[in-house]
């Protein structure tokens, strides 16, 4: 059946069964790479995306739950040339080894930063708990999230680039 899904600001008409987990719709139908398949069981966080501002495990979220909701993946945050603060932060901290877990980490961190722009180290650790990294990149991931918080902060303080016609 055809369902409509809002992903990264675009409406997508998708032909998929309503019980299809969001993960496969994102990867298979919309051909996005950000959400990763790690376990399909809600145990590792590799598939984390943001739905209406909240971190969601896309592998255990059937699309039938998403009617009218906004989905954001890592592709929706920024690009290589115009990276979002969290993407810049992960690049600057070189916060990846294999990098497979990283997009999920970033999306969960992004959701945290959107609701709490100045999280404590404790809060970041608590928030990232559902996400696994096997390479042991944890220390860098934590540093990158702190840096992202700072970058977002300065981005807010400096006069907004969009909107100001100069």
């Amino acid at each position: 059946m055809t369902i409509t899904l809002k992903v990264n600001g675009h409406d997508h008409q998708i032909d998929a069964d309503p019980d299809t987990p969001l993960l496969y719709v994102l990867r298979d139908d919309i051909r996005l790479n950000g959400a990763k398949f790690g376990c399909g069981l809600g145990q590792c966080g590799a598939c984390t995306v943001i739905v209406d501002g909240k971190a969601v495990l896309s592998c255990v979220t059937p699309v039938l739950l998403l009617d009218g909701k906004q989905v954001t993946t890592i592709e929706g945050l920024g690009t290589i040339d115009a990276p979002a603060p969290i993407q810049r932060a992960f690049m600057e901290e070189q916060a990846a080894q294999c990098g497979y877990c990283i997009a999920g980490m970033m999306m969960r961190a992004q959701a945290l930063l959107q609701r709490n722009s100045k999280p404590t180290d404790e809060q970041i650790r608590a928030e990232l708990e559902p996400n696994l990294c096997r390479c042991g990149t944890h220390m860098r991931i934590l540093r990158a999230v702190h840096r992202a918080a700072q970058l977002m902060d300065t981005a807010e303080l400096s006069p907004s680039l969009e909107g100001s016609v100069q």
Binding site: F37, P83, Q94, C98, R134, H138
Partner: protein
């Protein structure tokens, strides 16, 4: 950007600085046929000491290619696994060629394009491939200068290189592209290269940001999992429920009637299904799993008893080290047995491969660590000559050794051959990765040593019992698909890996100097559980054992653990990393950790011939629950000439985190028939709430000395350091890995 929508293969593969550079299949075959890899040259009479893989692949243009437009491509037969060496290679080549870092491209393992460098393993990439690229680049630069000298009629000494051009004293520039006309670089390497003076390095030694990270953090197509070829179908394999299970029955008709299902594939005990869409394939796989009936046999040993089982198996015993000095007499003797369970690689992304069978040639994109050996195995399985199979490395999730990658590649090849012309993506499920990957082997070590009247070690006995540490494909029999198919291939007989690197005996020989020493390797051919290479191989357990026992001896000698190590160590580079770590950690003789905490120290030189690493840790344990927590770790590493310091730090940080997780938590579990640790519930690893406050890694740079690699050097020392800190905190020594909460709680008693 590689956004959705435009699905031309070339663009996807090239996307976002990903591993796979732009090429097309037809190119590939043309190359394979038109330009076969040069036959290995006879080895020079006096092989140079330090040219890495140039030994086996001596033509310079196998490593460095310069196009007429000045474009430069560097080739490596190694596979980027997230260690970041692709960036390091690019640094090395840019440095020696005097070209901007960004102007180079690096192409990694591809049986159609790159040198055969065997496996990407054993922290060898920098040593083998990095060194080959270094020398090839230096020699290429020398050739370019010579050619310019000829053309300009200026002595070569008067020419210099800069920014991709040879510059004459009068300022004339000849671009590399102009100079390479003809087959300038199709020439065998010389035994010696004129290398740049390390003090003049501008790119090497710098923390150049990794080339692969931007795509990975913006959703680029970075992994084999991200490949989408036109017309591609999604396949899933239904593995037997246990080793040796026989397929009796399944309902093909019902499954083939399911929406989207293209084909059910069966060959003997190999069962798979392909569907148009991924979730359709998963649903079909579930239905197929439910309908399949298997005959299983109970043939696994008792998990709790694995050490005794191993000791009871027949072994091939060899004394691998012996030193005698009757003058040294031991007065006080202690002994101990250390054990390790089977442990999982546990990649976050289950293995995946894409196969495409066209015109009798099977191409597989795979995250194998060895495209050439895996090709040999797959060709044998398909019963075709190797030329009919091409393997192209594409990055996967971190693998830390031989995980399911090669098996998934074989699955893809087998299924693709059943579906000619249709690209097939095979993605393993979580339980398949956990249940079928070849684990890091269980091991037992027995140590016995005596102290003399000065508190020095007078004699040292070390025995290790272990399976082999590599069942990597070489033959088809190593591959699950080949074992399961009709007309199956038998698992090849395991072989011990030869010293000096060794397998189960890797790092079994002590680096310390003892007047009497006796080291025995008991190689056990029978493998009750499927095993193969896991990061560090035997070094993980052997260093854990040796360095735990050094602490036990230091305590018996009433000596400080750091001093005690220095007292027995002559190697000056080893002494340097020990001192550096102790100093940075704030290690003090006679120190006492705060209540509930403990300090630990450990050191090793990986394989006794690669990088040096010492690690100090502070552990906190909860007295009531036994719950251990790493508070901080400090490491010092000497891996020779540093190419990318941040890359080394990243590797060692990761090794500490991962080894801590192995050491405190991890064991593969099984009952008499099936593996029972099949996901993250049943095979827990470190999560963020156990992440330490800090990890500090110090590098001792050795300009001009050979690259020693860093990927595995931290594994053993981290384990022993953590174990020593646990012993220090709990007041009792634990010797049976993992040192989990329950064991610590029991050790603390009340």
């Amino acid at each position: 950007m590689n956004g959705p929508g435009n699905l031309d293969r070339r663009q996807i593969l090239a996307g976002g600085g990903a591993l796979i550079v732009s090429f097309s299949l037809s190119d590939a075959f043309a190359q394979d046929q038109a330009a076969p890899a040069p036959a290995p040259a006879p080895a020079p009479a006096h092989p140079p000491k330090w040219i890495g893989s140039l030994k086996e692949t001596p033509f310079l243009d196998s490593w460095v290619r310069i196009d007429a437009d000045g474009g430069i491509t560097v080739f490596t037969g190694k596979a980027e696994l997230g260690q970041g060496f692709k960036t390091a290679f690019q640094q090395i080549a840019a440095e020696e060629l005097d070209v901007p870092f960004k102007s180079l491209k690096v192409v990694t393992a591809d049986t159609g394009r790159t040198a055969n460098e065997g496996y990407t393993a054993g922290s060898h990439s920098m040593q083998d491939s990095g060194t080959a690229i270094l020398n090839a680049a230096a020699q290429a630069r020398a050739l370019l200068i010579a050619e310019a000298a000829r053309r300009l009629d200026v002595p070569a000494e008067n020419l210099r290189t800069e920014n991709g051009a040879v510059i004459a004293p009068d300022g004339q520039r000849l671009g590399y592209g102009d100079l390479v006309a003809g087959n300038l670089l199709h020439i065998q390497a010389q035994p010696e290269s004129t290398l740049k003076d390390p003090s003049k390095y501008t790119v090497v030694g710098q923390p150049v940001p990794r080339v692969d990270i931007p795509a990975k953090v913006t959703g680029g197509a970075s992994y084999v999992q991200d490949m989408r070829l036109p017309g591609m179908v999604h396949a899933r394999v239904v593995r037997p429920p246990s080793y040796g299970a026989q397929l009796i029955d399944y309902d093909a008709a019902a499954i083939e009637a399911m929406p989207g299902v293209v084909k059910v594939i069966r060959s003997g005990n190999f069962l798979g299904v392909a569907a148009k869409k991924e979730f359709q394939a998963i649903k079909a796989m579930r239905a197929l799993t439910a309908s399949a009936k298997w005959n299983e046999t109970a043939r696994l040993p008792k998990q709790e008893d694995i050490a005794r089982v191993l000791l009871g198996l027949p072994s091939q015993d060899s004394t691998i080290f012996e030193r005698k000095n009757p003058a040294a007499v031991g007065l006080k003797t202690i002994e101990a047995t250390y054990t390790r369970p089977y442990q999982s690689h546990g990649s976050i992304g289950p293995s995946c491969a894409v196969g495409h069978h066209v015109d009798d040639v099977t191409t597989v994109w795979t995250h194998t660590q060895g495209v050439f050996p895996d090709r040999a195995g797959i060709a044998e399985m398909l019963r075709v000559p190797p030329a009919k199979v091409r393997l192209i490395h594409a990055e996967g999730s971190g693998c830390y050794g031989h995980n399911g990658a090669d098996d998934a590649a074989a699955d893809a090849a087998l299924i693709a051959r059943e579906m000619p012309d249709v690209p097939v993506r095979v993605q393993w499920m979580r339980d398949q990765e956990h249940g079928w990957e070849p684990y890091g082997p269980a091991m037992v070590t027995k140590l016995k040593a005596s102290l003399d009247d000065s508190g020095a070690i007078a004699d040292w006995n070390f025995e290790v019992w272990s399976n082999t540490h590599s069942m990597r494909p070489g033959g088809a029999g190593s591959l699950l698909a080949a074992q399961h198919m009709a007309q199956p291939f038998a698992v090849p007989a395991p072989k011990p890996l030869p010293l000096p690197e060794g397998g189960g005996d890797r790092n079994a020989i002590p680096i310390y100097t003892f007047p009497n020493a006796h080291v025995v390797h008991h190689f056990i051919p029978a493998m009750p559980i499927r095993i193969s290479a896991m990061r560090g191989l035997g070094a993980y357990h052997n260093v854990f054992s040796i360095e735990s026992f050094m602490d036990e001896l230091a305590i018996a000698a009433n000596a400080d653990p750091v001093e005690f190590r220095l007292k027995h160590l002559e190697d000056s580079r080893g002494r340097d990393v020990i001192k550096k770590t102790a100093e940075a950690f704030g290690w003090k003789k006679g120190q006492k950790a705060p209540d509930g905490r403990g300090y630990g120290f450990a050191f090793a030189r990986y394989k006794n011939l690669a990088a040096y690493c010492a690690i100090a840790t502070e552990i906190e344990i909860n007295r009531e629950t036994g719950c251990p927590r790493l508070v901080r770790a400090v490491a010092a590493v000497d891996s020779g000439q540093v190419v990318n310091p941040d890359g080394i730090i990243n590797q060692v940080e990761g090794a500490i985190m991962q080894s801590m997780s192995w050491t405190l938590y991890e064991a593969v579990t099984f009952n008499d028939t099936r593996i029972t640790s099949i996901d993250w519930q049943t095979y827990p690893i470190v999560r963020f709430d156990a992440v330490p406050q800090s990890i500090e890694v110090h590098i001792i740079d050795r300009p001009g000395l050979p690259y020693l690699g860093a990927g595995e050097t931290g594994q053993g020392p981290a384990a022993a350091s953590v174990a020593n800190a646990v012993a220090n905190a709990a007041g009792k020594r634990l010797r049976d890995l993992p040192l989990n909460r329950k064991k610590i709680k029991d050790a603390i008693d009340v």
